[in-house]
């Protein structure tokens, strides 16, 4: 038993190895936790367990051939990675995209955002110890998976977007199914609130825990819902709009410190819940506005992209996803880099973890909604 407790410059402390196999490090995260009993001194994230050289693979694959690999950047929100790659290559090429394709992209992305946020809030509740919201969230996500499966044939790694459009038009009857799902889903968000959001123990576990002030959030480069929870009203979809987002009306939920301080874990949770409702609104608008027409522009089979470089920003489920692509004029990318939200979120966990309890670390990890492959790529 002597190695359980050891001395170092902090005095007597417990060194805990949390992960890469641990029930609440979804995927393969690892933290080395220095703790004094239940109170943590530090939790040091150790990344790299899911590194798959996706950026290097981009240099070896043809432009369209890389599309299936982008799914693996973030398997919970693969549609956004598809979108990022497609938009980046299109901008390099100066390729126009048919309007119907743009709407289909937005619909598929927003469906995926709902699915991803459902996982985020469901697992968050589960990590806090409430086991029921998770199956309810998964139930809704299953329906979305079914819908997307009908759209593109896959349930997780979609490979739906194409350079110059999307792979398939929506199938017959899909519109009705989507609308039926939205009719069902919008009240479900309220049901979810009744189920867990207002639960006093849940609030006590999350409010004022892991507070990220706005300056700190900006310093550490937080993006997306995590940044908005800290009080910054910023959304790429609205502020640096791409695709057809300028034509759509939606609100950007911002953390207001409902039950605690602005930027606490509860705000990060609540921003995601509200975003799901906004996504549902966006999908409805898309269906209303979507024109008939082609769903994919004609592109050459052997695609050559003019030399140049481009930076594309996409509002993924985990926040701003930046694609930096360099072309040397050939059939393959010269360099590709993806800057993802989870990587930055991992960085902020270490300073936040000082002086909080082990149970709060779990809440912290869950509230930042980090996904292992997105960190390591």
């Amino acid at each position: 038993m002597s190695d359980l407790v050891f001395e170092d410059e902090f005095g007597e402390e417990l060194s805990l190895n949390m992960g890469p196999q641990h029930p609440s490090t979804h995927g393969v995260l690892r933290f080395v936790v220095k703790a004094d009993g239940e109170v943590m001194k530090r939790a040091i994230p150790d990344v790299g367990y899911l590194h798959r050289s996706i950026e290097k693979i981009a240099e070896k694959m043809t432009w369209p051939g890389f599309m299936p690999y982008t799914d693996r950047v973030d398997y919970l929100a693969a549609m956004f990675c598809n979108e990022g790659w497609a938009v980046a290559v299109e901008r390099l090429m100066g390729q126009e995209v048919p309007e119907r394709a743009e709407y289909l992209r937005v619909i598929s992305c927003e469906l995926n955002r709902i699915a991803s946020h459902l996982i985020a809030v469901g697992t968050m509740a589960m990590d806090i110890g409430a086991l029921t919201p998770f199956p309810y969230a998964l139930r809704e996500r299953e329906t979305i998976n079914d819908l997307i499966e009908e759209l593109c044939g896959a349930r997780l790694t979609y490979n739906y977007h194409r350079i110059g459009g999307v792979a398939w038009d929506m199938p017959k009857g899909w519109y009705d199914k989507c609308i039926r799902f939205l009719d069902h889903f919008e009240p479900t968000v309220e049901e979810f609130d009744r189920l867990i959001t207002g639960n006093e123990i849940f609030v006590q576990r999350l409010a004022n825990v892991g507070v990220v002030p706005l300056e700190m959030a900006v310093d550490y480069g937080l993006v997306g819902p995590n940044l908005r929870a800290s009080g910054l009203d910023y959304d790429v979809r609205r502020d640096e709009a791409y695709s057809v987002y300028p034509k759509l009306q939606f609100e950007v939920p911002v953390g207001r410190g409902m039950r605690g301080t602005v930027g606490d874990s509860y705000d990060r949770y609540f921003v995601r819940v509200r975003e799901m409702a906004e996504s549902a609104k966006i999908i409805r608008q898309c269906f209303d506005q979507m024109p008939q027409g082609p769903f994919k522009a004609k592109t050459k089979k052997k695609l050559k992209v003019p030399a140049g470089e481009v930076v594309v920003r996409i509002e993924s489920a985990r926040g701003e996803m930046t694609w930096y692509v360099v072309s040397d004029g050939g059939e393959k990318a010269y360099r590709c880099h993806v800057r993802t939200g989870s990587f930055n979120a991992m960085g902020i966990i270490e300073p936040l973890s000082e002086g909080v309890m082990i149970a709060d670390l779990v809440a912290l990890i869950a509230s930042f909604d980090v996904v292992a492959p997105e960190i390591d790529r």
Binding site: P135, R139, R205, A359
Partner: protein, 794 residues
Amino acid sequence: MRAPVQRTGAQTPAMRAAPVLRTCNRSLSRVPLRAPAMALALGTLTLAAPAAAQAFEVHDVEPARVYVGTTLEIFGTGFPADGTYQILFAGDGGAGALFKGPELNEKDTPVAVCPDPARCPVQLALTPSVVRPDRLAVVIDRTFMERLRGDGRCAAGARDCDVPRVFLGDISVIRTAPGGAVTAASFEYPLGAGGPVRPPLRLELFTPALRDLADDTARALQIGLAEDFLGVKLGDAPGGKGVMLAEVVAGGRAAKAGLAKGDVLDKVLATPIVDAASFAAALSEAPGRNVILRIKRPGAPAPVIEKGVDLSDYPVRPPPQILSVLFVVGACSAVFLLFIMPFGGIVTWVERRVWARMQSRVGPNRVGPQGFLQWIADGLKNMQKEDLVPTDADSVLFRLAPYFVFLAVIGTFVVLPFGRYLIPADMNIGILYLTSVVALEVVGVLMSGWGSNSKWALIGGMRSAAQIISYEVPGGLAILTAVLMAGSLSTQDIIGAQGGAPWHWFICENPAAFCAFFVLFIALLAEGNRTPFDLPEAESELVSGFATEYSGFRYLVFFFAEWVNLYVIGAVLTTLYLGGWQLPGPEWWWKGEGGGAAGATLVLYVVLAGVMAVVAALWLFKLVWIGMPRWLQHAVGFPLFAAVTAGAGALAFLAPSSWHVEALRLIVFQVKAMSIVFICIWLRATLPRLRIDQMMDMCWKYLVPIGFGIFGFVALWVAYAPGWLRTAMHALLAVVLFGVIGAFFWRAWVNLKETGADVGLGARLKLAMTGYKVHDERWVRVGSMAEHGAAKRS
């Protein structure tokens, strides 16, 4: 388990002169007129002049509560086998109370069998026989019972004679030696008049027989040991003095020491030998190189010979007392385990099914009907798994820990009263014993946490220790509150002090008691590591907490204990605050005046018939499901239904009525306990987990002060609350209780309506029977994936 008894002994000069029974000082001081009355009572028996008579003492009398057929046993020292005995029952106190009815709350005045002992001196005498030197026994017969009750119910041919009577006074044993000498000793039953009355221990009745069997077995073992060691066969000596060597094996130790066949041993060193058992006992107690055996050899020149044997390598074995205790413990625990196992198992199944339903899942439904046998499958599976002990784990602690936890939980069943007679042991410290034995759990959890050599397990163990020890304080206060209201620690007395109707339960006794119920509920949840207090095994934080490193059977033991504990939570709350097994309404309605088909029979009949109807209907629907022709369903199903129902009804009518009442009590207890279990499952499906500091805050900052406040309030209430206030409060709190329950069902109904489901009875029934939803076309509101998939494929 009994309080120290007063005994008086032997013969004194005073008794010889005038055979007066000496009773204990307490009784004497309270009832100064007792002694002359007893003298009168004994007058007819003791006319003969006292001669030299052997003295004896009475130590204990069991049981206190007698039925027809009960064997009343009187324990004492050295009752001589000759002579005649008589037992006299003497009332306690001026009221002349001798026997009374079994209930405290029953407004049953004690049966004044003999209000004036002077006028009916030997009315209550029984003639026992000596079964062993230390024990007299007498069977209570109908005639005696009828004399106790005097209402004709125990007369020959009457059926309803099974309401027991509790003895409250003194018991005296008078022996008349063959020569006419009279010796007497008395025993005051420790529960005086007015004290708490304990229900009988029906299950305890088998232990004297078991104890005798165990004693005999142990004795035989010891004799065998002596025979093997010496190389002899022992037999009875003629005249009953000493032991005879029936055979002597050539070359054995006895043969070498010079003992021969036919020798009679009557002393080992200075110890006299009466039989083979005492010989074996003397051998085992007399180790040494040269132990002198005194032998009588018939026909030899010198009738008494002394031989030395070497006993220095006589095998050391546990003394027979330990063996017999082990035997009894082993037999009891086997029965006990078989009794408890289904509780834990069924609760796991209930939890998984209910929980799944709440989570919009199906849950286990493959093994057995509706997955009912899943717990057996899980148990068998776990037993087949490898039992891993981590490297560097403290192997002993690691291996022992699950059994401590297990012991703590099943130990509680000793005092859980499932019915008036269905209790393994009604200790007078019952609830104290329960809290103590439950506290053993923390030992096991700490052992597993420390012994696993795992940091997760260690943190889990520490959390658990902190949690269980902290919550024992408010939990103990809430238990004490119930004890305060009942005036007893015995679980049966606590139930006896409550009534059958909800307004007679302790939860409705006063507002503070109402709160105490919830304090106890929260504390028991915390002690049982149930959500929202499941920190010690918080999966998302500590993997599996203290059980992280366990596998196979030991893991099974941990979690079996956990689920048994879930049931224990329900049982304890039911016992302390929800009236236990008490049936609402007066006892006579349940028992019936004629003894046969009365309330209990009727209700039991309805319950059984209902269960059977559901069983048969389920079976029918299953037939529909597998596509059997309809005529065949009717041809097989209805006769089956009719036969089963009729059988149940016949059973209900044919069995004796007390069996019905007891069965109903068991049902009432289980329904209450399982309702609490359901609430625990519901909480688990609803609530997140507290953080450890929040959990500690809740205990020490809120529950402990509240607990003390409740305790103080209830103490004042018990002492000063006037009757009208109590009645009003009972009514008010009962309304609140029904309101809460009603609100639950109303809310459930509203939610059901909101889902758009068909809430008609037929639809709900079909749903329950088939497991399929009947509103496919409206899947969007309650839809599951299976339905959606089906819609897509079509």
